[in-house]
Symmetry: C2
């Protein structure tokens, strides 16, 4: 394509970070946001790439996130809990502040939890899962979102799309990582069907009267459905309990009340569990990392994929060949840098 | 019914425990098995009730479980890990031995894990989830089983039906509890369809060639499918990693290799995580138990059920009115008591 520009990962990071700094974010907020946005673009997850910059700026402009927040570690009596007060800033710098302590605790005690409170969640959970896995630890991460999903057997939005993510470190390979919404589809996918004028697949949503619908408009006015029927609904409820209520932060219905809209990034908390496979396997036969490879080989050997495989392939390509952006995308980055918060409604 | 006998919960416990003691199990094994079997019968979970006694005796007779094992706490360097060596006995007495230490650690550190190694898994996970919840703690419990489920995108049995269970304590109410197989259906349900000569619902299984099938025979020769497509498959894989490999115990394919059959209770390990809501919510606004009731009320308010509601209703009835067994069931209990291991093949 003639209007394509190739940027290195580092060059794209610099541009995105400059946009956030210019819009009034402080260094820790801008740096952390740029890292996850560039990671999305690098991994060919366009839905979590530079497209998200505007949403972050809109949330800043609406006064729903503090652009100069500095995350603070809050001392806890319980030694397996590491708590970071995000200070109403984004979750990402709070995660970065808590990770070293989380990793140290998980290594010494076998298991530890990082609680992030009072944060604006931004982007996917896999960057956090991967960061824990780079420490040689397994990770389980979850958070609520906004009330857009009906519980199984119900007829009104109550639960969030509540992502659930897991990672397992691999030697010499990117980690085993999954990260998915506990709804059948992400809300963005319903929006994409609406824009394209296409009906939804059966089983994604119900209308405002609680009846099954394939009409995207009716679905947006009604509720999405959890994946896997009552099982997914139960897991989503667990996310509300553990990563909302237990950590003393908002549930999905409370998030929606607080924001009054689903067009801004959600404000709530996040729960990250880190496990040390070395500590758990201590004194037992076999090396857990070697044994996991036997399982992965068996999955791949029958023609199935590991989750995130496509993402890691895109990453390898981006790191060697750079990231290709269209002329329109470059123009948009320029506009966001120049206009800052004036670029968004 | 004329041939119905009503037993109190305590009287049924006594009969079941006597069967196991008479068959050569020691006190801790017999008592713990009787408790979970009677709990199943009491809660109208017939599939986990007295029907299971024979399976336990068959596993003893096959030499795959040690009837006189005494579970032992194994000191761990990592303080958030409590490890019990089940000594090749059943998981249930090992759980009972580890629970008080698990609860104490979760309360003091906020979060702790109980690892059970070298056990024969028996019955459902909800009795263990409920026991943790009775300590005022949230619980997440998982274990592998036998390789009978194909990973999403695959065509051969590899994963187990890998149950995943969760509990949240409620004040003045039975806990919020779910406990389900990460396969679409439990293996027993496919067996029941086979016996009844009924086709399976679509999406439950594939045949030996990896093609979708609704024929129960073909499904038993092929593989079951995970619930919720690639998402359930990922969760099931996580169970193999955390509750098999990480804890230094068998994965589902290794269990099947070890036993050579799916007709005996599976030998492996189990992972129980316990969370202290009080510790996690410390210093944050709101009481987590009160806030959870608001969420449960909202679920119930739209006509949805909480998981396990039917089980708790049956329990209340059994505790006030006793447990009704048929004449054939009573005769079977008598036969098992009299013949011990000779009663099973």
């Amino acid at each position: 394509m003639t209007d394509e520009t190739i940027l290195t990962v580092a060059a794209l990071h610099e541009r995105v970070e400059a946009i956030f700094l210019n819009a009034g974010l402080n260094g820790v907020q801008a740096g952390a946001l740029a890292r996850v946005i560039v990671a999305g673009e690098r991994d060919a997850c366009k839905s979590h790439g530079i497209y998200r910059i505007e949403g972050a700026l809109r949330t800043v402009k609406a006064g729903k996130v503090k652009p100069d927040a500095v995350p603070v570690l809050v001392p806890q009596e319980a030694s397996a809990i590491v708590r970071v007060d995000a200070g109403r800033g984004f979750a990402n710098p709070a995660f970065e502040a808590g990770l070293p302590v989380l990793a140290e605790r998980a290594r010494s005690q076998g298991l530890a939890a990082l609680v992030i409170n009072d944060c604006t969640h931004f982007s996917a959970l896999w960057p956090e899962v991967e960061a824990v896995a780079r420490e040689g630890l397994a990770a389980l991460v979850m958070c609520p979102s906004y009330a857009t999903v009906a519980p199984a057997g119900g007829n009104k939005p109550l639960l969030g799309t509540n992502p659930f993510a897991f990672g397992w470190p691999r030697i010499g390979n990117p980690p085993y990582v999954f990260d998915f919404a506990t709804s059948v589809a992400a809300r963005g996918e319903i929006e994409l069907h609406r824009r394209a004028g296409k009906p939804l697949p059966e089983g994604w949503a119900i209308d405002a009267a609680g009846q099954p619908t394939t009409d995207p408009e009716a679905a947006l006015a009604g509720a999405m459905l959890p994946f896997g029927g009552h099982k997914g609904s139960a897991i989503s409820t667990m996310v509300e309990l553990l990563a909302g209520i237990m950590i003393g932060d908002l549930t999905s219905p409370e998030v929606l009340d607080f924001l009054g809209t689903t067009t801004l990034a959600p404000v709530h908390g996040e729960l990250i569990l880190a496990f040390s496979p070395e500590a758990f396997a201590a004194g037992r036969p076999g090396n857990p990392f070697d044994r996991a490879e036997v399982l992965f080989d068996a999955i791949l050997g029958q023609g199935a994929r590991l989750p995130s495989q496509r993402r890691f392939a895109a990453r390898a390509k981006s790191e060697s060949e750079g990231i290709a952006l269209t002329g329109a995308e470059i123009a948009q980055l320029d506009r966001l840098l120049e206009k800052g918060l004036d670029a968004v409604a």
